[in-house]
């Protein structure tokens, strides 16, 4: 055992309690890398075009895993509603064709629900349960260069920013009577009115963010500290095995792209 790991152990023992940090609160502790791996596995399972009974079972299994993950962070309602939607989707896939005429098409919605709910629920779990400092620590642990880590965190930061700015701009458009049925009718003009103020706003926020980030030492020459500890534990092993089960089942059942 190296000196470094000994000292790491001892610091853990005496270190200051930080209840806000994942793993010291009631939240399940999983390494972000494991969660990312699980996401890819679930993507493979749910989006595969395999239509066999095994495939539907594998997807249900995947949904079960995601529901458990949501339960582990205490979001019972999310776990229940996603599972329920998934179940309804399954029923539609199986029985919609019995409906008369065009109504049978709602089976298509069932397919969508079954394919997307587990995946989107997993992706939102990943985002919800992972603090940014954790994600950065995990990515640097994977030796991803700064040129990837910084833009990635900026994307996380800007997806909600875009939504927020867009709401304000939509408000302004409605107030000024810009919209279909309003004063502007061409779709390209609509695109222009929506996109131009939004981009101008985002560029400005990006510039101000740059200034702030630089003065907070981003991109400096020092080696970054990570307050979040990354590392694999038994939960990670459990999740990895669990998500591999449906993948293997699909492979065995004639997995296709």
């Amino acid at each position: 055992m190296s000196l470094a790991s000994v000292s790491a152990l001892s610091t853990t023992a005496v270190s200051t309690p930080a209840p806000w940090l994942n793993g010291r609160s009631g939240r399940a502790w999983l390494d972000p890398r494991t969660k990312a791996f699980a996401l890819i596995a679930i993507n493979v399972v749910t989006l595969s075009t395999n239509g066999s009974a095994t495939a539907w079972t594998a997807r249900s299994f995947a949904m079960g895993i995601v529901a458990v993950l949501w339960l582990s962070v205490g979001r019972v309602r999310t776990a229940l509603t996603t599972s329920l939607a998934f179940a309804v989707g399954l029923v539609l896939v199986q029985y919609a064709r019995l409906l008369p005429g065009q109504l049978a098409l709602i089976g298509g919605i069932g397919t969508l629900v079954v394919q997307f709910i587990p995946l989107v629920a997993m992706a939102s779990y990943l985002v919800y349960s992972t603090q940014v400092s954790e994600a950065v620590a995990a990515m640097e642990r994977m030796r991803l260069p700064r040129a990837v880590v910084i833009p990635f965190t900026v994307v996380l930061r800007f997806l909600p920013t875009i939504a927020q700015e867009h709401r304000s701009i939509s408000d302004a458009m409605r107030m000024r009577g810009i919209g279909f049925g309003g004063r502007v009718r061409s779709p390209l003009a609509m695109l222009e009115y929506r996109v131009v103020p939004l981009l101008v706003s985002l560029v400005r926020i990006g510039d101000e963010l740059t200034v702030s980030a630089l003065t907070r030492g981003l991109g400096g020459s020092r080696t970054r500290t990570h307050v979040s500890r990354t590392g694999f534990g038994w939960r990670d092993a459990l999740l990895a095995v669990a998500v591999l089960i449906p993948v293997v089942a699909l492979l065995g059942g004639g997995w296709r792209a």
């Binding site: 993507n43 833009p151 296709r256 792209a257």
Partner: protein
């Protein structure tokens, strides 16, 4: 309300990506991803999926043309491709995008660099190549159309599947590059138009 002081809008060509550049890469990648999702909402319905390859470069045109004026350094588009692939994989598209998007983005970056991130011909060519990442979401269907159709048959009925099958014969895959090319032209010219009409005059391009 404030009199905001904007940093200089001009971007230097070449050199390493600075923190400012990396943040810009993140901002525009996020916007591109959102624009794609808005266009792709329709693509979820299989019949609209046929036109996704056309819509995507059109909607992305305005942000992408502005992006190319804000950073002019090798690697920017590659990182965007990687981020697009990552978010797509998490957001409901097949994992193949994770490989294809960075790959075509890297090729696009080479083309942009050859044109010094300013030649219009290289911009068109590079944006076309970048937009080819749209093959990612199509790939599972492409590789195995029969299995895909078999999967949706119970839901959509045999008649529908037969129609789609006849539509999506092998020649359909050749329309994708054509769609991307047409979309690229429309998107790039639209983007350049808006660049001249707005962003240059507003002092941010």
């Amino acid at each position: 309300m404030s009199a905001t002081h904007q940093p200089p809008a001009t971007a230097t060509t070449g050199g390493r990506l600075t923190v400012k550049d990396l943040i810009t890469v993140g901002v525009f990648s996020a916007f591109y991803i959102v624009a794609f999702y808005v266009a792709g909402m329709l693509g979820i319905i299989p019949i609209f999926m046929v036109l996704l390859a056309l819509m995507c470069p059109i909607v992305g045109g305005i942000p992408f043309m502005l992006y190319l004026t804000r950073v002019k350094k090798f690697g920017m588009v590659t990182i965007t491709g990687l981020l697009v692939g990552l978010v797509m994989t998490g957001g409901g598209h097949s994992w193949q995008s994770l490989i294809i998007a960075p790959l075509v983005a890297f090729l696009a970056d080479l083309i942009f660099r050859a044109g010094n991130y300013s030649s219009w011909k290289h911009t068109l060519a590079g944006y076309f190549v970048f937009s080819l990442w749209i093959f990612g979401p199509y790939l599972p269907m492409m590789l195995n159309l029969d299995a895909y159709l078999a999967a949706i048959e119970p839901a959509y009925g045999t008649e529908y599947v037969t129609t789609v099958k006849s539509l999506m014969q092998s020649w359909f895959w050749f329309t994708i590059p054509v769609q991307v090319a047409v979309g690229t032209l429309i998107g790039a010219y639209l983007g350049r138009g808006v660049l001249r009409k707005h962003f240059e005059r507003a002092g941010i391009a």
